[in-house]
C-alpha cells in the first residue's frame, strides 16, 4: 500500500434519509480506499456518520459521490484531534451506535430481490444456487425483521444465526459483493425453509424438517399444478398462491378466504411476462414498469384492455381473478422463493400465479408459523415456512400509475418505513380512521405513518394495531403525550383511543380536514390553494356526513368554502351498501314525482315495495342522516345507469361506472357523448353549494338511459368540470386532491385535461394514499399546528 498523502483536511460528515440497509457504508469504504482517504464510517441511530481525512481534492470527490437523491449530506471541517481513538491508518467500518431518541428514525426498508442475487440464485455454479434467503447490500428484508435500531445483524432476527466462516470471509472482503452485508447468509448458516403439511389428509399440519428446499418446491409446484393453494411465508407475512388459469381453483381460494368479489393480483416471474402482454391484455407505461421492478415490489394495477379475440395463450388468467374491474393487479417476486415458485410454475405449466395475503377477509395478514399451520386445510393445502420470526408484519403495497402520476392505494411493505418531516415537536400518536386504518407517530419534527392495517371493527385488526404500535413505538422509544383520533363519535378507533388513553388527552380532528392536512404535508403546495376532499363519507362538524368538501387554504388558514347540496342516506349504513337507495334519495331531493321514480327504478333486484318503503322513510326523514358525500352520487348514477344495486365491496358501484365510462371514451359515437352532468354553484349561508338537482333530473329522465350509453362519461365529465369551476370561482391556480373518489383513473384524466386547458395545476400525493390510509398523518398535524380550521 502506498504511503497516504499528508492529511490536509479533516471532515465530519453525517448523512440522513435513505442511508441504511442499502450498502452505503461498504460503498463509502470502497470510495475512501480508492481516493486514499483515512478515517471511519458507522451507523448512528438512523443516520450514517463518517470522519475522514485526506487531500482537499480527494475529499471533494468523496463528497460528490456521497450525494444521492434520497440523502441529506451535512458536512463540517473539524480540527484534527490526535486523541480520536479511531484515528488509525486506512479507512474502517465501525460498529453502529444508537442515539438518544429525540426524534423518529428513518428505518431501512425491506427491498425486493435484486437482479444480481436473482442471477446468482439461478446459477447452478453459485454457492447460493437455490438458496431461498439470498440477499445482499442491495436487497433483502430490513424493516420487517428489525428488533432495534440501528440496522445491524445483531438488531434483527438474523442475530440468532451466526454467519459461517465462508460468509464471514465474504463479509470482511472489500472486493466481495456482500462486503459488510448485514444479513449475509447461505444454506449452511441461514434460515431454513420448512414444509408444513398434514401427515394424513384431514390431520393438523406439522413441520417436516427433513426436506431440502428443492424437494419442498417440487411438492409446492405439484400442489399448485393440481389446483391446490400453497401458503408461503414471505418477507413480511404469509401469502396464498394458486394457479391463475384455473377458474375453480381461484374460486375455491375466494371461498376459503371469504373474499367473494374483490379483485386478486398476479405474481408473475418477470417483467418480460408483463411486457409480452402489454398492449394486448393491459396497458403498460414506463412508470408502471419502473414500479414493478422497484425495490418496494408493490402490486401495480395495470389498466385492462377490452379487445375481443385475444389469443388464449396470452390470456392465461381466469375470469375469477379480477372480474368487473378496470384493472389487473400484477407484482414481480420480492423474494427468491417467490421467484423460484413463479418461475417453476411458468416453466412447467405456462401460467402465472394468483398471490394474495394469507388471512380471512377483514382480518390482518398472518405472520406466525403456528397461526398458519393451524389453518392448513381450511385456508391452504400446504405451507412453505421458515424459522425466522417476522417482527413487523405488512401487506403488499398497491398502486397504479397514470399519465406520470403515481397513486398509492395501499401503503405497506416497502413504503411504511419512511419518515416525514412534520412541524410537530411533541410526541403524538394519531390512531387514523376506521377503514384502511393506519396509525402515525410524531416526535421531534419527524413522523412515521404505519403500514396498512384494515377495518378497525375487526377485533383481530384492532389487536394488530396494538401489536404494531408497540413494535414500532419500541423501535423509537416512543411514548406519546397526546393522542389524536377522528371526530366521528361512532368510530371504533376513536372509542378505543378514548377508553385506553388513561391520563392522556384525546383530541379529535374532522375527517376531511385531516385529509387536507395530509396533503399539505406530503405535496408541494403554494401559499394559497383549494383542497378538494371527495370521498364516501366522513363525520362533519355539523354532525352530518361530509364528503364533497372544498377548503380554501390561504395564509396558513383553512376555510370550508364549498360542498354539494345535501341529501338523505335512507337507512344509514344500508344506503352506503345499496346504491339503489341513493338513486331514490337523489330523486326525492330533486323533486321527481314518486310514481315516476318508483316506476323507473324498479328492477329485477329491487322491488316496487322496497322502493315505496324507502321513499316513505325519506318523506318521514326516518333514519335518513344528511350527507353531501361525492361517493354517493357515483352510487346513485351507477344504479340508475347500470343497475348496480349492491356495493359488493367498498367503491364497487363507482368502479362499475368508471369502467363503463372508459368504454364510452373509446366508443366516441355514444349518444350522450356531448352531454354533461352540470353542477351549478349556489351561495347558501356563506357556503357554496354544488347544486346537482337539475343535472340529476336530466340524467334520471333520459329515455335512452336504460342502456346507460354515454351518460356514465357525461357524469364523470360533470364532476371534473365542477372541480375546475370551483378553482375558477375562488381564483386559485392549484388544486390539491384527496379522498377515495380521486382514485378514479378516468376522473384523474378528465381533471388533468381540463386543468391543462385552464392552466391549473392539480396535485395529489404519491407518498401516501388518497384514501383513509393517509388520514393519520394529517391527524398528527391538526394536533399541533397553526393550520387549523378557522371557521
Amino acid at each position: 500500500m502506498p504511503t497516504p498523502p499528508m492529511p490536509t483536511s479533516l471532515m465530519h460528515i453525517t448523512m440522513r434519509g435513505e442511508v441504511q440497509g442499502i450498502g452505503l457504508r461498504p460503498r463509502i469504504k470502497r470510495w475512501a480506499d480508492a481516493l486514499g482517504l483515512q478515517g471511519w464510517v458507522r451507523n448512528q441511530g438512523d443516520q450514517v456518520e463518517l470522519q475522514v481525512s485526506g487531500t482537499a481534492s480527494a475529499l471533494q470527490q468523496l463528497l460528490a459521490q456521497l450525494q444521492g437523491p434520497q440523502r441529506v449530506v451535512q458536512f463540517a471541517r473539524v480540527a484534527p484531534d490526535q486523541s480520536d481513538p479511531f484515528t488509525q491508518p486506512g479507512f474502517s467500518i465501525l460498529p453502529g451506535v444508537s442515539m438518544p431518541a429525540d426524534r423518529l428514525y428513518q428505518v431501512p426498508a425491506d427491498r425486493g430481490i435484486c437482479a444480481a442475487c436473482l442471477q446468482e440464485f439461478h446459477d447452478i455454479a453459485s454457492s447460493r444456487y437455490h438458496y431461498p434467503f439470498i440477499s445482499c447490500n442491495d436487497c433483502g428484508p430490513r424493516f420487517s425483521l428489525l428488533t432495534r435500531l440501528p440496522f445491524a445483524r445483531a438488531n434483527t432476527r438474523y442475530g440468532q444465526l451466526p454467519p459461517c466462516p465462508q460468509c464471514q470471509a465474504e463479509f470482511a472482503d472489500p472486493e466481495n459483493r456482500r462486503f459488510h452485508s448485514e444479513l449475509i447468509s447461505c444454506a449452511g448458516c441461514g434460515p431454513r425453509l420448512l414444509l408444513g403439511a398434514p401427515s394424513a389428509p384431514g390431520d393438523v399440519a406439522v413441520i417436516d424438517a427433513a426436506l431440502a428446499p428443492d424437494q419442498i418446491v417440487v411438492r409446492a409446484v405439484t400442489c399448485l399444478e393440481q389446483g391446490g393453494i400453497v401458503a408461503v411465508k414471505s418477507v413480511s407475512g404469509m401469502q396464498l398462491l394458486v394457479r391463475a388459469d384455473a377458474q375453480s381453483a381461484v374460486q375455491r381460494l375466494r371461498r376459503l378466504k371469504q373474499r367473494p368479489h374483490k379483485p386478486l393480483a398476479l405474481l408473475v416471474p418477470s417483467l418480460q411476462w408483463v411486457e409480452q402482454r402489454a398492449g394486448v391484455l393491459f396497458d403498460l407505461d414506463s412508470s408502471a414498469s419502473r414500479w414493478l421492478t422497484a425495490p418496494q415490489r408493490p402490486i401495480v394495477l395495470l389498466p385492462k384492455l377490452h379487445r375481443p379475440g385475444i389469443d388464449p395463450l396470452i390470456n392465461d388468467v381466469a375470469n375469477a381473478v379480477a372480474a368487473d374491474v378496470p384493472d389487473l393487479g400484477v407484482m414481480l417476486p420480492a423474494t427468491a422463493l417467490q421467484a423460484w415458485l413463479a418461475q417453476a410454475v411458468m416453466t412447467q405449466l405456462g401460467v402465472p400465479l394468483v398471490c394474495t395475503s394469507a388471512n380471512i377477509s377483514d382480518e390482518p395478514i398472518l405472520f406466525r408459523n403456528e397461526d398458519l399451520l393451524s389453518r392448513v386445510g381450511d385456508l391452504c393445502d400446504l405451507a412453505l415456512l421458515h424459522d425466522l420470526e417476522i417482527d413487523i408484519p405488512q401487506d403488499d403495497s398497491v398502486l397504479f400509475t397514470h399519465r406520470g402520476h403515481t397513486t398509492l392505494l395501499r401503503r405497506a411493505r416497502g413504503f411504511a418505513h419512511a419518515t416525514f418531516a412534520v412541524p410537530v415537536q411533541e410526541s403524538v400518536l394519531a390512531v387514523g380512521g376506521d377503514l384502511k386504518n393506519t396509525f402515525a407517530l410524531a416526535q421531534g419534527g419527524t413522523a412515521i405513518l404505519g403500514p396498512h392495517l384494515g377495518d378497525m371493527e375487526s377485533v383481530a385488526t384492532l389487536q394488530r394495531q396494538e401489536f404494531l404500535l408497540q413494535k414500532i413505538a419500541g423501535l423509537h422509544d416512543f411514548i406519546p403525550n397526546r393522542i389524536v383520533a377522528d371526530a366521528h363519535p361512532g368510530y371504533v378507533s376513536r372509542q378505543r383511543a378514548q377508553r385506553s388513553a388513561g391520563n392522556l388527552s384525546v383530541a379529535t380532528v374532522q375527517h376531511h380536514h385531516a385529509h387536507l392536512l395530509a396533503n399539505h404535508l406530503t405535496c408541494d403546495l403554494p401559499e394559497r390553494y383549494l383542497a378538494l376532499v371527495w370521498d364516501g363519507s366522513g363525520y362533519g362538524t355539523d354532525a352530518t356526513l361530509w364528503g364533497s368538501e372544498c377548503f380554501l387554504v390561504e395564509a396558513g388558514k383553512v376555510r370550508r368554502v364549498a360542498a354539494l347540496a345535501p341529501f338523505g342516506l335512507p337507512g344509514g349504513v344500508q344506503a352506503l351498501r345499496q346504491p339503489w337507495r341513493m338513486a331514490l334519495a337523489l330523486s326525492f331531493a330533486a323533486n321527481i314525482p314518486a310514481v315516476e321514480v318508483i316506476q323507473r327504478l324498479t328492477s329485477t333486484t329491487v322491488s316496487a315495495a322496497q322502493l315505496n318503503a324507502v321513499w316513505q322513510m325519506l318523506e318521514n326523514n326516518l333514519n335518513c342522516p344528511q350527507s353531501c358525500a361525492m361517493g354517493r352520487l357515483f352510487d346513485a348514477a351507477s344504479y340508475r345507469l347500470l343497475g348496480v344495486a349492491d356495493n359488493l365491496y367498498e367503491g364497487y358501484a363507482a368502479l362499475q361506472l368508471q369502467t363503463r365510462a372508459q368504454q364510452e371514451t373509446i366508443a366516441s359515437a355514444s349518444p350522450g357523448h356531448d352531454s354533461i352532468f352540470a353542477i351549478h354553484n349556489l351561495e347558501s349561508d356563506g357556503l357554496l353549494r354544488g347544486d346537482w338537482h337539475a343535472a340529476w333530473r336530466d340524467l334520471f329522465l333520459q329515455e335512452s338511459v336504460a342502456s346507460g350509453e354515454g351518460y356514465a362519461l357525461a357524469f364523470h365529465r360533470g364532476i371534473a368540470q365542477w372541480a375546475c369551476q370551483l378553482a375558477r370561482h375562488f381564483g386559485v391556480r392549484h388544486l390539491s386532491l384527496s379522498g377515495g373518489c380521486f382514485q378514479n383513473r378516468l376522473l384523474q384524466s378528465l381533471l388533468l385535461d381540463l386543468a391543462q386547458a385552464e392552466r391549473l395545476e392539480v396535485i395529489w400525493p404519491d407518498a401516501i394514499p388518497l384514501n383513509d390510509g393517509g388520514l393519520a398523518l394529517g391527524q398528527l398535524l391538526a394536533a399541533d399546528y397553526s393550520l387549523r380550521n378557522s371557521t
Binding site: 377485533v459 366521528h488 370521498d535 364516501g536 344506503a575 315495495a609 318503503a613 322513510m617 367498498e650
Partner: protein
C-alpha cells in the same frame, strides 16, 4: 264527568282532580292503601331486602301494536325490579296529561294499567296527576316508581359476572322497537308485528326458585341487546363474546331492520332480558325459560371471556373491556357504542 277531554282544571288539585281520581283511577286499580287517598302510603315491613327503582314513560304513539303506555309503565318498572332479582311489591304512579287528551283514551290506559298490575301482582299504592297546557306534552307522560323484595340474600349484579359464564337472552329481540316505529311512521312493512312487552319476574323468579345460580340480569330496553352488553362489559370489567348467528331475531324483525337500516342489536325491547349464569346450568335454565311464552326463544348467545383484553394497555394502565361479535366464519368484530342515530361509519 261531563267533559270528554282532559282540561287544565283536571290537574288543579280541586274538585275536578278529585273526581277524576275517584271516578277513573281508584275504581281502576284501587286497593285498600290507595283508597285512603292520604299523602303517602304506609307500607308493611318486608322480610327480604327492599329494592327501589323509578322510570318515566314517554312514547309516541301511546297505543302501539301489542301494547300501550299504561301497560308499559307498569311492566318497565316491574322488569327493572325483576332483573335485580326482586319480586315487585308496590308501585307509585304519576300522570302528566296534556290538555285535551280524550278521556276515553285515558280510561283505556287506566284499564291497561290495572290489568298489568294485577298480572304482575304489584299494588299501586300512591299516585299523582298533573295537567299541562296543550303542546307541552305529547298526550301523556307517566312516571312510576316501584319497590320490590329480594327473596334471596344477594341482588343480581354485573359485579357478580364470572369468566366462563354463559350469556342467555330470554326471547327473540327487536320486536318492540320495530313495532312502535312502524306504527308511528306509517311504514308498510307488510307484516304483523307486535311489541314483545312482557313481565320478566316470573321467568327470573322461576330460575332462582329452581336453583339456577343467576349472577346478573339486565332488561333490554332502549339501547337494545347491544347497549345492555356494552354497559355490562364495562360495569363488570369483562370481555364478552357474542355468537352473532345465535342471537334470536325473527325473520320479520330482521327484514324490517335491513330495510330501515337498523342493527337489531340496538333496537328496543320491552319483554326481554340477558342473563349470566354458570355454563353448567344453561340447559336447565333454557328449559325453565321456554316454559313461559316470554321465554319461548330463550337461547345462549355467548360467553364471558377470561379477562378483559390486556393488550390494549400500550400507553396506559387502563383496561379496556368490550363486546366482540363472532360471525359465521369465526371473524370477530368489536361492537362499538352506536351513536343515537346509528350514523354510518363505513365509506
Amino acid at each position: 264527568m261531563k267533559e270528554s277531554r282532559i282540561l287544565l282544571t283536571h290537574g288543579s288539585g280541586g274538585e275536578a282532580t278529585r273526581d277524576l281520581v275517584q271516578q277513573l283511577m281508584v275504581p281502576g286499580y284501587g286497593n285498600d292503601t290507595l283508597r285512603q287517598l292520604t299523602d303517602g302510603a304506609v307500607l308493611p315491613r318486608l322480610n327480604g331486602t327492599p329494592v327501589f327503582t323509578t322510570d318515566s314513560y314517554v312514547i309516541t304513539p301511546p297505543f302501539f301494536p301489542g301494547g300501550d303506555i299504561g301497560a308499559l309503565s307498569v311492566m318497565g318498572t316491574c322488569n327493572d325490579l325483576a332483573v335485580m332479582g326482586a319480586v315487585p311489591r308496590w308501585l307509585s304512579l304519576a300522570f302528566i296529561l296534556e290538555e285535551s287528551l280524550p278521556l276515553e283514551r285515558l280510561e283505556k290506559i287506566v284499564q291497561s294499567i290495572q290489568r298489568t298490575a294485577q298480572e304482575a301482582g304489584i299494588e299501586i299504592v300512591t299516585g299523582d296527576t298533573k295537567v299541562v297546557e296543550r303542546g307541552k306534552a305529547d298526550q301523556l307522560f307517566i312516571n312510576t316508581a316501584g319497590i320490590g323484595e329480594l327473596l334471596q340474600p344477594l341482588a343480581l349484579s354485573p359485579q357478580r359476572i364470572q369468566p366462563g359464564d354463559a350469556m342467555v337472552v330470554s326471547n327473540d329481540i327487536g320486536r318492540h322497537g320495530i313495532a312502535v316505529l312502524a306504527s308511528r311512521e306509517g311504514i308498510n312493512l307488510d307484516v304483523d308485528l307486535q311489541s314483545d312487552m312482557a313481565l320478566l319476574h316470573p321467568l327470573i323468579q322461576a330460575l332462582l326458585h329452581n336453583g339456577i345460580d343467576l349472577h346478573c340480569a339486565r332488561d333490554l330496553t332502549r339501547g337494545g341487546l347491544g347497549g345492555a352488553l356494552l354497559e355490562l362489559a364495562e360495569q363488570g370489567g369483562r370481555d364478552l363474546r357474542v355468537v352473532e348467528t345465535a342471537v334470536p331475531v325473527s325473520d320479520t324483525v330482521q327484514a324490517a331492520c335491513e330495510l330501515l337500516g337498523f342493527d337489531p342489536l340496538f333496537v328496543a325491547n320491552e319483554g326481554c332480558c340477558v342473563l349470566f349464569l354458570p355454563q353448567s346450568q344453561v340447559a336447565e335454565a333454557l328449559a325453565i325459560l321456554r316454559e313461559f311464552s316470554a321465554g319461548r326463544w330463550a337461547t345462549q348467545i355467548g360467553e364471558v371471556l377470561a379477562k378483559a383484553d390486556q393488550t390494549a394497555t400500550t400507553f396506559s394502565s387502563t383496561t379496556v373491556s368490550g363486546v366482540r361479535l363472532q360471525n359465521a366464519y369465526g371473524v370477530e368484530r368489536q361492537l362499538g357504542w352506536h351513536t343515537v342515530d346509528q350514523l354510518p361509519r363505513i365509506c
